[in-house]
């Protein structure tokens, strides 16, 4: 029979993405069995993260410093600003090491069904950053979904007239993708965005 404390921890862990009540129970059991090597360090680490990490006041990324490491890095290109819906997208782009500009987190996508309108997204701070004068290009790195593209069009309307080049990542075949297994929309988008190979 589990104690009330254990049940409370299981219930909290079960709310995490990827975990349900059964896997949360297994995780709690594992933490208790590995108290020294996992439980205590996990507790300390969680405490440190929750105490020290805050959203960056410039871009919205999470970091222990404000401005965040990316915003404070002088080697990054101030002229290119990549707009993403969520911090997870910054992490995905940073994993590629293919982008050396700055970021801006919108905080979601326009979604009529979920009741998310333009007021819920961080457009005012984005416009303010662009008006600062250093940004020359804004990459609207938003999903190739109806909500994502609706947000991209809205952003393009809102940022028009600020004197920056607006771009978006290409849509098409993923690396390692085979035509046979791709959906119609992806194939159609890839064909429209075809490029010369001469």
């Amino acid at each position: 029979m589990s104690s009330l404390e254990i049940e409370r921890l299981v219930a909290l862990l079960a709310k995490l993405p990827g975990l349900g009540p059964r896997s949360a129970r297994r995780a709690v059991l594992h933490i208790l069995r590995k108290r020294e090597v996992l439980g205590d360090p996990l507790l300390r680490s969680l405490d440190e993260v929750l105490t020290a990490v805050r959203p960056c006041s410039v871009c919205g990324n999470y970091d222990t410093s404000d401005p965040c490491e990316i915003c404070a890095d002088p080697r990054r290109d101030d002229a290119v600003l990549c707009v993403v819906p969520d911090v997870a997208d910054i992490w995905a782009l940073e994993r590629t090491a293919a982008f050396r500009g700055r970021y801006h987190v919108l905080g979601g996508l326009l979604s009529p069904l979920d009741g998310i309108g333009p007021e819920e997204l961080d457009f005012p701070r984005l416009a303010k950053r662009i008006r600062g004068g250093r940004v020359k290009e804004v990459i609207l790195a938003l999903p190739a979904t109806v909500d994502g593209q609706t947000t991209a069009h809205y952003a393009a309307d809102r940022l028009a007239g600020l004197g920056v080049r607006l771009t978006a990542p290409a849509h098409g075949l993923p690396v390692g993708g085979e035509l046979e297994f791709l959906d119609d929309g992806t194939i159609a988008a890839a064909l429209r965005a075809r490029r010369s190979v001469e």
């Binding site: 990827g18 069904l113 109806v146 069009h153 809205y154 119609d184 929309g185 159609a188 988008a189 429209r192």
Partner: protein, 241 residues
């Protein structure tokens, strides 16, 4: 076990847990219908479940009144021409939003379904805005408040139709409407077009359909127009300017 198969157009989806979605679709024979799609958030499936996508659906439930589950096979996806164009995309989102907001659940509207598939096919074409206006007129008709624009409600003439009665939705000719013109709506030219319709005519047409949709349907349900519709009208108005 209750079970059927039908063609559908995805109107919206809501996350259900981490892997599944509750999908709402306009089906040809079963009207606006919801169902649980297992694994609907997976990378493989979610592309085919975007609003406006056409799908083949199989619905199963233990009892008729249950939510039930959908098995989906992806059909025509939202074309890139629509995704890339702000006006066309706003028309698509507005279509899905309006259908989701105004249609009662599980009430068949096969004519409206055919009208919607026709609209989806016409959205990539040049006449997409007029096609959207036709859709709103068709939606009004399906709701039981069709516009009667073929002849004058007062005199029966088919000539010189200049107004629409805000009460009956019937056309009114110039002579019959002269004394009431400040209380009548302007006749929507977009619905008697013979060639391409200018955006100004489409905006005027949407003002008329919008008036009746608001009065007879949305106000009754206590719902606003989808934001996408406002964006669409604003964009068409900008083109006109």
């Amino acid at each position: 076990m209750v079970e059927w198969e039908d063609a559908g157009i995805v109107l919206g989806r809501r996350r259900h847990g981490e892997a599944d979605v509750v999908l709402t679709a306009l089906t040809r024979c079963h009207g606006r219908h919801a169902g649980l799609v297992k694994g609907g958030q997976s990378r493989r499936m979610r592309g085919g479940l975007e609003p406006g996508s056409q799908v083949s659906l199989r619905w199963r439930a233990r009892l008729e009144e249950h939510l039930g589950g959908f098995t989906c096979e992806a059909g025509a996806a939202v074309p890139p021409e629509v995704m890339e164009d702000a006006g066309r995309l706003a028309a698509l989102v507005s279509t899905c939003g309006l259908l989701d907001a105004v249609l009662p659940e599980r009430e068949p509207h096969p004519d409206l379904f055919d009208l919607c598939t026709g609209l989806l096919a016409r959205l990539p074409e040049a006449e997409w805005a007029a096609a959207y206006a036709d859709f709103e007129r068709g939606l009004l008709e399906a709701m039981g408040f069709g516009l009667h624009l073929e002849d004058c409600a007062a005199t029966g003439t088919t000539e010189d139709l200049r107004y629409v009665s805000p009460k009956s939705g019937g056309a009114v000719c110039g002579a019959a409407g002269e004394g009431y013109r400040d209380r009548l709506l302007p006749f929507p030219e977009v619905f008697r077009r013979t060639g391409p319709a200018p955006d100004a005519d489409v905006v005027a047409g949407l003002a008329v359909t919008g008036y009746f949709l608001r009065r007879h349907v949305l106000d009754v349900l206590g719902r606003p127009f989808p934001e996408a519709r406002e964006r669409l009208i604003e964009r068409l108005g900008r083109t006109r300017a």
